[in-house]
Amino acid sequence: MSNHSKSSPLTSYFAVWGALLLGTFLTYEAALIDLGRFNAAVALTIATTKALLVALFFMHLKGASEKLLKLVVASTIFFLILLLALSMFDYGTRSFS
């Protein structure tokens, strides 16, 4: 996980930090504009980008020496989406017959 720090990673840390703050600002501002159904989509896209930044750079997922950790993350997200999607499927189709 470590030992990749030949050149100082400080720049990337601060860049990510800046991007995260910007993202927070953007989410907040976007919420004040009426985008119809897209409000939620925009908010979630920004949130996911921010989460990815944290995971990849702060949690060093990007530099992780093995695929294993990425596999753990990917499968966790997969099962989470499964939970949400399959239960939403029930709620979404209760009305048709």
Partner: protein
């Protein structure tokens, strides 16, 4: 290669290295923790079994004469909760898995020994809460805690039971976490994934479910507790909530949880079948991958418990369809086990008898699962004794048989003593007969329409004869379970000392002394052979001494 030397009694091992209560309660040795688990889950098994006997006695006659309806409801609730959460889920992983995984992969211990001990303590805390709950009135919601009954109507100790299971759940999560890390990081040099014993593969798959499923039931129980104490409305239709949401969340865990119960048992049976037919498992990689497939597909099918609960028709279709996806890898396993027997050199020692029992009863239980997954049939049989019979066939006939088989198989390794083979075979036979007598009639009862969770069937006297069979069977079954308990205890004192490898079995665990030393291996083993290399073992042992039997 394995040796059949009989150890001198004085040899230092994990059991006699330290003495005293403290050396047990503060141990981080995975083998000692396994024994702590063994004692505690046996305790809970007998409590659960005691409740089962009371249930069966009550159902001997149609009227509710032995106990009142409210007591009966508490009996089956706590029977289910104890058996599922405090016996079967921890059983094989926490006892045999804990003991054997490090041995099988050539490690000195699990990756996080202290976490391992912590998970036992969590289990014990949960267990004490459960016992306390039972002693102070118990709980009557059914093991499924369906809302809004559990949150707004039951006036029993729902919160306490929920929290007990919550705590025990974390024990299960930590066990799974420990196994996954151990299996990834601690394997001996040369022990590649394709050389792993299938027991380890099965536990790996189990751990995935424990890690990803258990937290969901944990948070669901938190919500039940919150709803019950604060009336938030999350599950209460009176306050705008949806009771089916609870069922979704509950089964998202509790369906995969049934594979937490069966997969380890499948692993055990695989080892036993390989050993007693002296063969490499037929289709090793298919058996290995089918474990993973079961774990993954197991997450796709949960709402098959809700076909008449009021979910959408389309969701019911999808979940029925997906339910069959788990059946395929299960079928693959059954066929591969059967094929392994082909051209083997088969012995009928007690572990193998249990494995045979497992094969037959699991197949029947699994096939009746197909009935339940078929929408049209489930409408009729859901919430009847057909379901009860289905899952007892798998959980008692399958998982528990496998557990007992494993206990016999590895008992010489665990205790350093041989159990009495004749008694063991007799017990296997009694269990098998008692089991079928108890639960086969319940299939018929179920199709006739006898609903489950009925304390009283005095308006339906036509159900009595089958219930009498069932009750009679359960006493036979009880005897069958008491026997091993007695002779295992007996053998600890009077049994013959076990050689290191009494079955001439493959696998690193048999290369350690019986019982193993604290750090398992004097030096780190290097694996150069495939799993189940019985041909090499048997070549090396033309003059093999078959000590047991």
């Amino acid at each position: 290669m394995a040796t059949a030397t009989v150890p001198s009694v004085e040899r230092e091992n994990y059991l006699n290295k330290h003495y005293g209560v403290e050396s047990w309660l503060l141990t981080t040795d995975h083998k000692r923790i396994a024994l702590l688990y063994l004692i505690s889950i046996t305790f809970f098994f007998f409590i659960g079994g005691f409740f089962a006997l009371l249930i069966r006695l009550e159902l001997l006659t149609p009227a509710s004469d032995l106990v009142q309806a409210d007591t009966y409801n508490k009996l089956f609730t706590m029977h289910g909760q104890v058996m599922v959460f405090f016996f079967l889920i921890p059983s094989i992983p926490a006892v045999l898995g804990n003991f054997l995984i490090p041995l099988m992969i050539g490690a000195k211990d699990l990756a996080f020994p202290r976490v391992n001990l912590l998970s036992w303590y969590l289990y014990i805390i949960g267990g004490i809460m459960m016992v306390h709950c039972m002693l102070t009135g118990g709980v009557d919601t059914g093991w499924t805690f369906y809302t809004p009954f559990s949150t707004a109507f039951s006036n029993t100790k729902v919160i306490e039971a929920g929290l007990a299971i919550f705590v025990a759940g974390f024990s299960s999560i930590l066990t799974g976490l420990n196994f996954v890390v151990t299996i990834h990081r601690m394997r001996a040099p040369g022990l590649t994934w394709s050389r792993l014993p299938l027991f380890v593969w099965a536990h790996y798959a189990t751990s995935i479910i424990q890690i990803l499923g258990t937290p969901v039931v944990a948070i669901t129980l938190v919500l039940v507790v919150a709803e019950r104490s604060l009336h938030l409305g999350i599950f209460d239709p009176k306050l705008g909530g949806d009771p089916l949401l609870f069922q979704h969340l509950f089964w998202f865990y509790s369906h995969p949880a049934v594979y937490i119960m069966i997969l380890p048992s499948m692993g055990v049976v695989t080892e036993i079948i390989a050993c007693f037919s002296r063969k490499r498992i037929f289709g090793y990689s298919f058996v290995a991958l089918s474990s993973i497939a079961i774990a993954v597909f197991g997450f796709l099918v949960w709402a098959h418990h809700m076909f008449v609960a009021g979910i959408s028709v389309y969701a019911a279709l999808i979940f029925s369809l997906l339910s069959y996806s788990v059946a395929v890898p299960s079928a693959v396993k059954v066929f591969n086990w059967t094929a392994t027997l082909y051209k083997g050199s088969i012995r009928y020692d007690a572990p193998m008898l249990y494995a045979f029992g497992f094969l037959g009863l699991f197949t029947m239980g699994g096939l009746t699962g197909l009935f339940l997954a078929a929408l049209g049939v489930d409408v009729h049989v859901t919430d009847t004794y057909f379901v009860i019979a289905h899952f007892h066939y798998i959980m008692v006939g399958g998982a528990l048989m496998g557990y007992l088989g494993g206990m016999h198989f590895w008992w010489p390794k665990i205790s350093g003593k041989l159990y009495p083979e004749g008694w063991a075979r007799l017990a296997a036979l009694i269990v098998f007969i008692g089991f079928n007598l108890t639960f086969f009639p319940q299939f018929i009862l179920g199709y006739l329409g006898m609903p489950r969770r009925y304390a009283d069937y005095s308006h339906m006297p036509e159900f009595q004869i089958l219930n009498v069979f069932s009750t009679a069977g359960s006493t036979v079954l009880g005897v069958g379970y008491l026997l091993p308990m007695i002779y295992f205890l007996w053998s600890m004192r009077y049994g013959k000392p076990a050689p290191d490898n009494p079955w001439n079995a493959a696998g690193l665990e048999w290369k350690t002394p019986s019982p193993p030393t604290t750090y398992n291996f004097e030096e780190e083993p290097v694996v150069t052979w495939e799993a189940y290399n019985y041909d090499e073992i048997d070549k090396g042992h033309k003059e093999e001494v078959h000590v047991v039997g």
